[in-house]
């Protein structure tokens, strides 16, 4: 047999899932795992009803309620009528079609991209989709995971396949070791600030290099999570011992000998030496500092010690117009610094940074301290399991003593679909993934940052360089 062309991990997984490739058609790609939630699924189920067809394989489909749920009094009926209707519609749809639902109150409920990994449903080599752009999170395990629209949710429910053109491949390598106070959120905010909010559109990204390999699984998820914020179809990291150790013993991971066989298979996944990428970018970890965004897209970020660019520093006229509009919205002056800027709200949560390690990072900063006067701090765990673990470790006490509010799991103020909204004109330093206009509530203003940077701002009441605090 002739030697095969070296392949990237992305190509290996993609090619292994093509059910049909026909000239002139997109690939019919088989989907191993489909996650659904209340907001982007109801119209898809209606489509199945109209066609009179069942869900293709309920074993491959898992549902939870996260986007639209309250983070207080989850044991009571949802107060807001439309939200309640949407969650009840999900219940009905799961019941009618036989899909497992981790509903409010269930010990496995939580943000869809947090529960998949913690339950071991997310595994290396899989194809994974969900009607949510942050599905890229699951790529941290060495899977091809990406967000889809509702028509595509319907396709996958109906056929377990999706029609897709194969994206181009990009490798982003981070050499060296991260400095003190710099965490994975800073890596991804740094990359996006360098290549812009559209810099990876059309590509599927593989993150590699020493600084990535040294990260824990949870930290890797934070990086892959925000791949979409630079336009990438998804982002993944080759599985290694860190991945296998994380998965071992998880509820839905293979058990016993089956696990060892799976690991042997997963070890074949990393990109072959000599594999060719359509684009390769290399950055140095030493250049990365605690990051913060100042504008209204995630590409508008900088080191916390930097100054916001001036209008003249931007080359294109169109870019200047959008830049000015963005800073006006944020109430910030071009060329000014953010250090010392007072904040009104601190949001610790979202599929980007609401795992137990994130809460531990926050607790490490705030232990024995009190939040600044006038600052409201919400800590929203990513899942019931995260919440319970936080209580077990006593983190809830640390937060309580600091004056933080630890609530129940959900997407919460990341997108402000429920009542957790930042009021108009107020500044929120947030561990979430988007600083779009109105994202956290109409006219709200968002600074994206790491859990460490958000925690220190909660204590000082202003944008602070966490390195001077630890």
């Amino acid at each position: 047999m002739s030697a095969q062309k070296p392949k990237t991990i992305f190509e290996k997984i993609w090619d292994a899932h093509v059910v049909k490739r026909a000239e002139g058609y997109p690939d019919a790609l088989f989907i191993d795992r489909h996650f659904i939630h209340e907001v982007t699924s109801p119209q898809a189920f209606d489509g199945l009803r109209q066609r009179g067809i069942p869900v293709f394989n309920i074993q491959r489909t898992t549902a939870t309620a996260d986007h639209n749920v309250p983070t207080k009094d989850q044991h009571l009926p949802i107060k807001e009528a439309l939200s309640r209707h949407q969650v009840e519609t999900l219940r009905k749809n799961c019941r009618d079609f036989g899909i497992e639902l981790y509903d409010l109150g269930h010990p496995f409920q939580g943000i869809v991209h947090i529960i998949g990994p913690e339950l071991g449903l997310t595994q290396p080599g899989m194809t994974i989709v969900c009607g949510d752009s942050h599905t890229s999170t699951h790529g941290a395990f060495g899977s091809v995971a990406f967000g889809i629209g509702t028509s595509e949710v319907e396709q996958v429910l109906a056929t377990q396949c999706i029609l897709q053109y194969k994206p181009k491949t990009m490798k982003i390598e981070i050499k060296g070791t991260l400095g003190k106070g710099v965490v994975s959120k800073d890596i991804i905010l740094y990359i996006i600030s360098k290549i812009s909010a559209s810099g990876a559109t059309g590509f599927f990204v593989e993150y590699a290099g020493e600084a990535i390999q040294q990260l824990s699984m949870e930290a890797r998820m934070t990086i892959c999570n925000m791949s979409i914020e630079m336009g990438a179809r998804g982002g993944l990291i080759a599985p290694d011992e860190t991945t296998f150790n994380y998965l071992k013993g998880r509820k839905f991971a293979p058990q016993g000998e089956a696990f060892d066989r799976a690991v042997a298979k997963w070890k074949q996944l990393p990109s072959d030496s000599g594999a060719v990428y359509d684009s390769v970018l290399t950055f140095d970890a030493a250049d990365i500092a605690p990051m913060i965004t100042y504008g209204t897209n995630p590409g508008m970020g900088m080191r916390v010690t930097d100054r916001i660019p001036t209008v003249e520093e931007l080359k294109e006229i169109n870019e200047q117009k959008s830049f000015k509009k963005s800073l006006e919205y944020m109430g910030l002056e071009p060329g000014s610094a953010l250090l010392g800027k007072p904040v009104d709200y601190v949001f610790i949560g979202s599929c980007t940074n609401a795992r137990i390690e994130d809460l531990r990072l926050v607790a490490s900063i705030v232990k024995g301290k009190k939040k600044a006067a006038g600052v409201e701090v919400w800590v929203i765990p990513g899942s019931k399991q995260v919440e319970q673990q936080a209580v077990k470790e006593g983190l809830n006490k640390v937060f309580e003593e600091a004056g933080f509010e630890l609530r129940s799991p959900g997407c919460s103020a990341c997108l402000g679909m429920n009542e957790d909204k930042v009021p108009p004109g107020k500044y929120c330093i947030s561990t979430s993934n988007r600083n779009f206009e109105g994202r956290q509530g109409p006219k709200s203003r968002t600074f994206l940052a790491s859990p460490l940077s958000a925690a220190v701002a909660a204590i000082t009441g202003k944008v602070t360089d966490v390195r001077e605090y630890i």
């Binding site: 982007t40 028509s151 396949c161 909010a197 059309g202 979409i228 679909m417």
Partner: protein, 194 residues
């Protein structure tokens, strides 16, 4: 779901010269609570269109009676951010059938194509002259010819790319599920052996 068919469209166009318009601007999250596909048009660009007490913001183009039509012309990286298909539904429901930009985010592009909204990618320079022309004269007719993959106005024209499969779907009103359902046997076998 059967869709509208699209071959050629001539209409006036609405200019929105802002870059990086994300789907949270197109339809804010608090309007995603409906469980049907209809009715999203009234909240299209909600927070750019209305004040917090629901008064129209006169400066916003959709509130300017001089502008109208079935073609929206916007700055680059249109539709970035959230995968919410509600963005495509709201654009369709409002009455747009084409969005022109120099660059589209991937998920939005797929969602638009799945909902009989044609994303037309033009060069930065063509976009600039088109925006200028329709801002200067809102009655300028713009023609989008899908069959010949060409957009034209006032004697200027440019061809655009679209993949052959999606083009065929739009012209005939097919959707992806029709095709995938025809592969049922192969998918079943794949699922069992996988």
């Amino acid at each position: 779901m059967s869709k509208d068919k699209f071959t050629i469209l001539t209409s006036t166009a609405v200019p929105l010269p802002v870059e990086n318009i994300d789907t949270d601007q197109i339809i804010p999250a608090r309007f995603l609570k409906a469980t049907t596909r209809e009715g999203f048009g009234e909240n299209l660009f909600r927070d750019w269109r209305y004040t917090s007490d629901n008064q129209p913001i006169n400066e916003f183009v959709l509130n300017n009676a001089a502008f109208g039509g079935k073609i929206l012309v916007a700055g680059k990286n249109f539709g970035c951010g959230s995968s919410r298909e509600h963005a495509a539904w709201s654009i369709y429901d409002y009455g747009f059938r084409v969005v022109v930009s120099s660059f589209f985010a991937d998920i939005f592009k797929n969602n638009a194509l799945n909902n009989a909204v044609l994303p037309v990618v033009v060069s930065d320079s063509f976009l600039a002259v088109l925006l200028e022309a329709i801002q200067k004269d809102p009655t300028t007719p713009v023609t989008v010819d899908l069959v010949n993959q060409e957009i034209s106005f006032a004697g200027k024209r440019e061809t655009f790319e679209i993949n052959a499969y999606k083009k065929e779907c739009l012209i005939n009103g097919y959707d992806d599920i029709d095709y995938l359902l025809s592969l049922n046997k192969e998918i079943r076998e794949f699922d069992l052996s996988h």
